[in-house]
Symmetry: C2
């Protein structure tokens, strides 16, 4: 077997993060309106998206800023209603249905499985723990702890740490820039998952943006790995 | 009816907060040990209590400091395991069993019900929302928003806001200092609940610390109110 290690992105690869984020935010808006926030839910949701864009998605006080933007006096009841509905949704995340059995199968086949993710390490770990799949990975690498964003250098550092050659590894993810282009520049094979989420419609134009395989979901990964191994033997 | 308004404390009065806090922390410790933290759970729990005492219970990064105290390198997996177990417990809080029906009954009898609580407004609202009892209160007053701790002045401000005489109100809570002594100094009747929690063993010594009634749980409140009304007519 030429390929030894498979790196997985988390968001919109192992679980529908875009969908859950939207649901969590809509549930939060509905709960805030129910708790007394004056406004049409669709408009409030639009304002919330602007706030998230302005403050960044990891900012802790989106709902406080939302009320400021709507010129509503800070109201602990409304904010608490939003936070509680948001977290109730966010804490019930599930992986895409084919993910757990595929990970188990790939381990049986002898592959080492890793997470290679961008973001806050505790938040990314929290997702793996809540989905109940963290034990299926041999190790987890998050940009915050590696010390750089998901760049070619990020992958080079991980390969060195794992004493792997680039040609022994595959990166699986949904983003052209972070998952495909960065891994490709580090010499790693790439599989792009186009299932659902913000980045599914992005088109790979330049050669360095084109993944070795494109799949509809992680359930098709075994087939993709075979294709890559065939190609790499030539 | 002489009495018009009943003020309720939240923690260890409407729900067993001490018990939930202990359970949440123990679950967090067990999850961290399961996630790889080296240590005997009982000892780790002891260290965590020291950290909470040092940093205050509203501090956001107890588990980070816990690892520092244990001289363990920061590990996102261990911290995420702790946070996730902690929140899973904390978000499943339930009121004491007799609380919802008692609140409904007291409303039927014509009393206005209020929360008078010390702490962070969003956190206290979050508890009321999660327990599903917030609609049973006519209003909620939290020290953070009133602008002072639960002192005689805190109660005086609320009475003024509600246009109530002190003799028309009763404060129900577990703490001698915050719930009994402060309310009594403001001229409000007091009922102390000795059910469970950190403050049940505190002994009222001086006259100003002694509540008009002491009850075993909120289910006995109706009887206590009748006794107070009889006494106040004399």
């Amino acid at each position: 077997m030429a390929l030894k290690a498979i790196f997985f992105d988390i968001d919109d690869c192992l679980f529908p993060s875009t969908r859950f984020a939207e649901l969590a935010r809509r549930n939060a808006v509905n709960a805030m309106v129910e708790a007394g926030l004056k406004g049409e839910p669709e408009r409030v949701y639009g304002t919330l998206l602007k706030v998230i864009k302005k403050c960044g998605s990891n900012y802790e006080c989106h709902f406080d800023v939302l009320l400021e933007e709507m010129r509503v006096k800070r109201d602990a009841k409304i904010i608490a209603a939003g936070i509680s509905a948001y977290h109730n949704t966010k804490t019930s995340i599930l992986p895409f249905p084919e993910v757990p059995r595929t990970l188990v199968k790939l381990r049986e086949l002898g592959y080492k499985l890793y997470v290679a993710s961008e973001g806050n390490a505790v938040k990314q770990w929290d997702k793996l723990i809540r989905m109940g799949i963290y034990l299926l990975f041999d190790d987890v690498f998050v940009s915050e702890e590696i010390g750089c964003e998901k760049s070619p250098y990020f992958f080079a550092k991980i390969l060195k740490k794992l004493k792997l050659k680039a040609s022994e590894a595959v990166m699986v993810g949904d983003r052209i820039d972070k998952d495909v282009a960065s891994a490709k520049k580090a010499g790693i094979f790439t599989v792009r998952v186009i299932q659902e989420g913000k980045f599914t419609r992005e088109k790979a134009v330049r050669k360095e943006e084109k993944a070795d395989c494109v799949i509809k979901n992680v359930g098709e990964l075994q087939k993709a790995l075979k294709a890559i191994e065939r190609k790499s033997r030539k």
